[in-house]
Amino acid sequence: MTKFIDLTLNGISTGAVYAVVALALVLIWRATRIVNFAQGAMLMITTFIASSVISSSGSYWLGFAVALVSGLVLGAVVERVLIRRVEGAPPLNAVIVALGLLILLEAIAGMIWGNTPRSFPPAFSIQGYDVGGTRVLFAPNDTFTVLVVVGVALALTALFRGTAIGLKMRAAAFRPEVARMLGVRVGRMLTLGWALAALVGSLAGMLVAPSVFVGPNQFDPILVFGFTAAVLGGLDSFAGAAVGGILLGLALSYVSGYEGSSLVTLAALVILVLVLMIRPAGCSRAHRSAAYERPAHEGQNAAWHARAIACDRRRCRSHPVPGQRGARCL
């Protein structure tokens, strides 16, 4: 029973980190319809910067702030310099550019900081809480991690659902032409989306670095599991990504605790395939993401999109597929 509780707590804290990475991936997916495979390398760079700042200044929170700011800048620069150029190209080109960036950033980090992983201080104590005389596998630092995940998920949902800027970002992502006609600065919205995502990613790097150490390749598994979590939750939903991350962390923790750690990646595969066979577009709100698919005929549905954006503004949440029954809202 103690083992079960320990595994559960461990699963929640590792799952929380997957959830943060998944949130960053969902953010970029929603903002630019690109899966950012370079996310792991970007958060690795910001965590290395934080590590250097912490070791030279001695202040954890200064390093934390520097990591977030550098994430913001890095994300904006990557979007502006690289991603902007492959926007009109086939989607695979963006994937390859992201993979190239992943390799390039890992090589640059290796050149600057060396390939040997180095330790990284946690934000709070990693000494487990004392519950009735026994130490549980859950420390103040894990509480911090979970709170960050919940906070980020709520903040992002609020941003995209409840603010004008979030609405503009959604419009820019899913119908750039129409959004431009309606006065949205599409380019800026895309840059903002990448910058925010890189910021969230750098947060994930800070949270996970104490347990995996900082090295050029240390964050690759985090990206893979974060992506798995995002796919599990459905790439269009922040809540789905957060829940998907936690559930994946729990499942992998049980598998590794009861069956052995060599099965973890295999278990991730089995879980993902099972979920996707039942819900091919992730767990959450499959009908809703279908409504967000671009209409088949380019240019013909501008009016529909204008209405969809107006309808979004009214916060009614029933964007239907055009022509489908129940399209009352539009």
């Binding site: 190209a89 390859i96 190239g100 992943l102 290796g110 050149m111 390939n115 060599s262 295999l266």
Partner: protein, 310 residues
């Protein structure tokens, strides 16, 4: 005549080409992404290693068995994949790429765990002479396999099946209106490319005399995908470019890195940095891959020569 090292590079290029040709059909022709082709190669590699190492099969039947077994795996993966689109398919195949090598650890008594399985090198037939180098024989085997793949795939691309793949890629609804079973066609594309990858994996085992999980990490799957996009999707010539790139680029960049006197950190990472830079630059310069870029250059040269050419 090629030296031993060049023979080995030729063999490497040949089995990479076999895998890339399959991936070209899958991604370029039927429009499905696969981040898990390294795992498909692992299936073929382990089949050959088990059959030759434990069961003492001859080379050709073992390679045929590798094709069949990986095609069977392709049926399962393809059936799952035909329900998935875009990033969801990418995620599922990514999980396949990292999940499958773990099986080697799990069943380490039969699959050899981290150390993998070792087989005896193929012996060159006696009529080639007593001094015929082993590397050259391996290169011939790999090239024969690659030629078979090229022949079959080239015919497939220009057959009705190839047209069905393209129809499904371009418009699923239109394709199904034409009487095509979209899921079936997509599954078939996965089976074909899995069979190619299985043969490639089998050839890899023959060339390296080793099947180990270390060779089939995620990096292999990703470099296959990058090579096929970089070479040029949708044409088998692009797969040749991609295979050449996969073999030659690491050698060149390593030579380059060693030719300067740099600190170890820099010289160890310089080849990777160049590889990443080439990926990005090539995608920005030639969005259609090297093959499309070369074609554009050739047609420009031709047009400038012919007066009045449009």
């Amino acid at each position: 005549m090629l030296g031993a090292f060049d023979d080995l590079e030729l063999a490497n290029g040949a089995y990479y080409f076999a895998a890339l040709a399959g991936l070209t059909v899958l991604t370029g022709l039927s429009g499905q992404i696969s981040l898990g082709h390294g795992a498909m190669m692992a299936v073929g590699a382990y089949t050959v290693a088990l059959l030759i190492g434990n069961e003492h099969w001859a080379l050709v039947p073992a390679l045929l068995a590798a094709i069949v077994i990986s095609a069977v795996v392709g049926v399962a993966v393809g059936a799952a994949a035909s329900r998935l689109r875009g990033p969801y398919l990418a995620g599922a195949t990514l999980a396949f790429a990292i999940g499958l090598p773990a099986i080697a650890d799990q069943y380490s008594s039969t699959l050899g765990g981290e150390n993998g399985l070792v087989i005896n090198p193929p012996t060159p037939p006696s009529w080639l002479g007593a001094n015929f180098p082993l590397e050259r024989w391996e290169a011939w085997i790999a090239c024969a396999g690659a030629l078979v793949v090229l022949f079959v795939m080239n015919n497939l691309v220009h057959s009705g099946i190839g047209r069905a793949f393209r129809a499904v890629r371009d418009d699923e609804i239109a394709a199904s209106l034409c009487g095509l079973h979209v899921g079936g066609v997509q599954t078939l594309a996965f089976i074909v490319s899995a069979a190619c990858a299985g043969l490639a994996g089998g050839l890899l085992t023959v060339v390296l005399q080793l099947a180990a999980p270390g060779a089939f990490q995620l990096a292999l799957s990703l470099s296959l995908l990058t090579a096929v996009v970089l070479g040029g999707l949708g044409s088998l010539v692009g797969a040749i470019w991609g295979a050449a790139l996969l073999v030659l680029l690491p050698t060149w960049t390593n030579d380059l890195a060693n030719s300067f006197s740099l600190s170890t950190n820099v010289s160890n990472n310089l080849p990777l940095a160049i590889y990443g830079f080439v990926l990005i630059a090539a995608m920005l310069l030639w969005p259609g891959g090297i093959q499309a870029g070369a074609r554009a250059i050739v047609s420009r040269v031709r047009h400038s020569r012919v007066p009045g050419g449009s």
